[in-house]
C-alpha cells in the first residue's frame, strides 16, 4: 500500500535577496514497511523535503508547487489544525537532526513524551500516556523506569533511543529520520541503525532516512533517492542503483565512500562545491561539476525519466533527448 506519494514538490525560501530554490522538483513514493534513503551533500534540500512533508517550514519557507498525497489525500492545502490532529506525529513523525539536543533540558523525558501524546491525541489521559511511554522505552531497548530521568542523565545513544521512542508515541505510519547517525559513535551508531531496521520491520513503518552517509542508508533502506541542488538525480531500488549507478553524481557519491572491506585504494572526492541555490546554474544543476557535461546540459534541465521499471534518472547521458 502506498502511504506517501510526493509529486513535483517545489519548496522555496523567500529571502530579501530573492527566492532560495531549495526543492525544485521531487517525486517519490513510499509503501508501507518500506525504507527510502534520501541522500546528497549538505545544502541539497534533503531536510527541506522533510520539513515540507510535515509543513513545519521556517519563516519564509513555502511549498510553491506539487502535491503530497498522504494515504491518498493531498495535505498541501491542509490547515494548521488539521495537520496537527491528522498528520503530525500520528501520521508522519520526524526525528530531527542532532536529536541529542532536541529534548528540553528542564523537563523530565516522561513529561515531554506525555505532552507529545496528549497534544496530538486529545482523548488520552496522563496515566495512559505515561503507560504508553514506558512500553515505548522497552521497545527501543531501554529500561522503562528511565523515562523519569532528565535528558542530561542520558548518554548520546540513550537520547537517540528516547527520541525514537518519542517519535513513535502516536503510532505513526511514516517515520522520518534526519541524519540519525551523525554525532554518534561507531558502535552506538550501529546499535541505532539495527534498532531502526528492527522497528521498521516489526511495526511496518514507512521510513525515510535522510543522510549524507550512503553506508547508513545501505544498511536500512530498500529504495534510494539521490538529491542534488533541489532535484532528484536518481531514484530507484537501492541494490540496483549501487550495482549500476546511472547518474554521474550517484556514481561519484558512491565512489567517495571508502569501504572497510574493499582493497586499499586512493581516496576519491567530487571536485567543486554544491551551487548557491539563490543563483542556481542553468540547465542541469550538476553540469559545472560533471565530467560528461554536454552542450544541452547547460541549457535545459534533463527530464526525470523512467529508464527501466521503477528506476528514474535525470540525465541526458542516459535518458536520451
Amino acid at each position: 500500500m502506498v502511504v506517501l506519494n510526493v509529486q513535483g514538490l517545489k519548496t522555496y525560501y523567500f529571502t530579501r535577496r530573492g527566492p532560495v530554490r531549495a526543492v525544485e522538483e521531487v517525486n517519490f513514493q513510499l509503501e508501507k514497511g518500506d525504507g527510502l534513503g534520501l541522500a546528497g551533500e549538505s545544502g541539497c534540500g534533503k531536510t527541506t523535503v522533510a520539513l515540507s512533508l510535515l509543513k513545519i517550514l521556517p519563516l519564509g519557507g513555502r511549498i510553491v508547487g506539487g502535491k503530497i498525497l498522504f494515504k491518498g489525500e493531498d495535505i498541501v492545502p491542509f490547515s494548521e489544525n488539521k495537520m496537527r490532529t491528522e498528520v503530525r506525529w500520528g501520521g508522519i513523525s520526524l526525528i530531527f537532526q542532532g536529536a541529542m539536543n532536541a529534548f528540553n533540558p528542564v523537563y523530565k523525558v516522561s513529561d515531554q513524551i506525555v505532552e507529545a501524546i496528549r497534544t496530538h491525541e486529545k482523548d488520552v489521559n496522563k496515566k495512559e500516556a505515561l503507560q504508553r511511554g514506558r512500553k515505548l522505552f522497552e521497545m527501543v531497548g531501554m529500561e522503562p523506569k528511565r523515562i523519569n530521568n532528565y535528558p542530561h542523565e542520558f548518554s548520546g545513544g540513550m537520547k537517540q533511543r528516547a527520541m525514537i521512542a518519542m517519535a513513535l508515541a502516536c503510532n505513526p505510519d511514516i517515520l522520518i529520520a534526519d541524519e540519525p547517525g551523525t554525532a554518534l559513535d561507531v558502535i552506538v551508531q550501529a546499535q541505532v541503525i539495527r534498532l531502526m531496521k528492527q522497528l521498521k520491520d516489526k511495526l511496518g513503518l514507512g521510513m525515510i532516512m535522510i543522510a549524507h552517509d550512503l553506508s547508513m542508508i545501505a544498511e536500512v533502506c530498500d529504495k534510494l533517492a539521490i538529491m542534488y541542488a533541489g532535484y532528484l538525480a536518481e531514484y530507484g531500488d537501492i541494490v540496483k542503483i549501487f550495482k549500476e549507478p546511472m547518474h554521474p553524481y550517484t556514481r561519484d557519491l558512491i565512489e567517495a565512500f571508502p569501504s572497510i572491506t574493499s582493497e586499499k585504494h586512493s581516496l576519491i572526492s567530487i571536485p567543486g562545491y554544491p551551487p548557491d541555490l539563490l543563483k542556481p546554474p542553468s540547465g542541469c544543476r550538476f553540469h559545472p561539476r560533471c565530467k560528461y557535461a554536454m552542450d544541452i546540459c547547460k541549457k535545459e534541465q534533463p527530464p526525470f525519466a523512467e529508464i527501466s521499471k521503477d528506476h528514474y534518472v535525470a540525465c541526458y547521458l542516459v535518458g536520451g533527448k
Binding site: A190, S215, A256, P258, K264
Partner: protein, 328 residues
Amino acid sequence: MEKAIVKVEGLKKWFPLKTGFLQSLTGKTLNVRAVDGISLEIKKKEIFGLAGESGSGKTTTGKLIIRLIDPTKGKIYFEGKEITELKESEMKLLRRRMQIIFQDPYESLNPRMKVSDLIAEPLRVLGLSRGKETIEKVTEIMNAIGLTPPEEFLLRYPHELSGGQRQRVAVGRAFVVNPDFVVADEPVSMLDVSIRASILKIIISLVDTHDASFLYISHDLALSRHMCDRIGIMYLGKIMEKTASDRIVKEPLHPYTEELIKAVPLPDPTARRSADVLKGEIPSPVNPPSGCRFHTRCPKYIGDICKQKEPPITEVSKEHYVACHLYT
C-alpha cells in the same frame, strides 16, 4: 627501520574530578583516567592512526604528545630527546616543528581574522618570516591547500568560507611553518563525505612534501585504514591492539577491534549484516573495570583471569601488538 620521531612511554593523564564538600573532607579525590599508561612510537614519515570510541582517550593522547597539556606520568620523547619536563619557553623552539589540526573548523578559526592573517599568524608568532617573505609563504601554502587563486580568498573572513574551505585554512596554518610532526584530531568528521577525501588528500600530499610524520586521530576506521600506515586501537585510556592498518582490518586479533570493525556500516546494500552489535556503552573512565577494561562487554570473555589481571600488550606476531588474555 626508520627512526622514531615521537615516542611515549607509560603515558598517563588523569584529570581530577571536582568533588563535593563532603567528599573533600574524606580526602579522596576521584580522577578521570583519560589516558592510563600507553606506550607508542611514531616513525619518521609515518602516518599513524589512533582509533576508538569517544571517551577512549585518543584526543588527550594527541594533546599530550605535543605538550598542549601536561602528563600525570610517563615520558615523551621527540627525536630521541625527552621533552616531558621542558618549560614553555623551551617548548617554544619545538612548537614550529609540532603542529595540530583541530576537529571543528567553525571553532578553531578566529572569526575576526582574514584568511591571510590566519595563515600568517603562526609565522608571525614564531618569528619565522616577515614582510615579503611571509606573503610568499602564505601564497605558496594557499596553492598547496587548493584555495586558488589566492587573491580570491586572502581577504575573506571565515564566515565567507564553506566548511571544507575552512578546514583547508586550518591545514594551511599547520603546515605553513614547515613542521616535522602534525597531529590531526578528526579533521574531516564535520565535513560532507564528498569533500572528505579531497581534504585528506591535501594532508597526505603536504605530509609527503614536508617529509613530516602524522598522527591521525579518528573514529572512522574505514577512512583511517586508507590513510594510515599503522593503527592503534584505544579503549578507556589503553591501547588494545597496534599493527599495520591493512592487517588490523583483515586480521584483527583483539575482540574489541573485531567489534569495532563489525560496527562500521558498509556502503553495499547486499552485504547487510544481521550480526549482533556490541551491547552497551563505554564504561566510565573514573572507575574503569578491573583486569582487562573490556571484560564487561567482551563477547570472548574467557573467565576470571580477564576480571582479575590486566593483560600486558605483547607482540603476538611480527609488529602486531595485542593486549588480550586470549593470546598470552
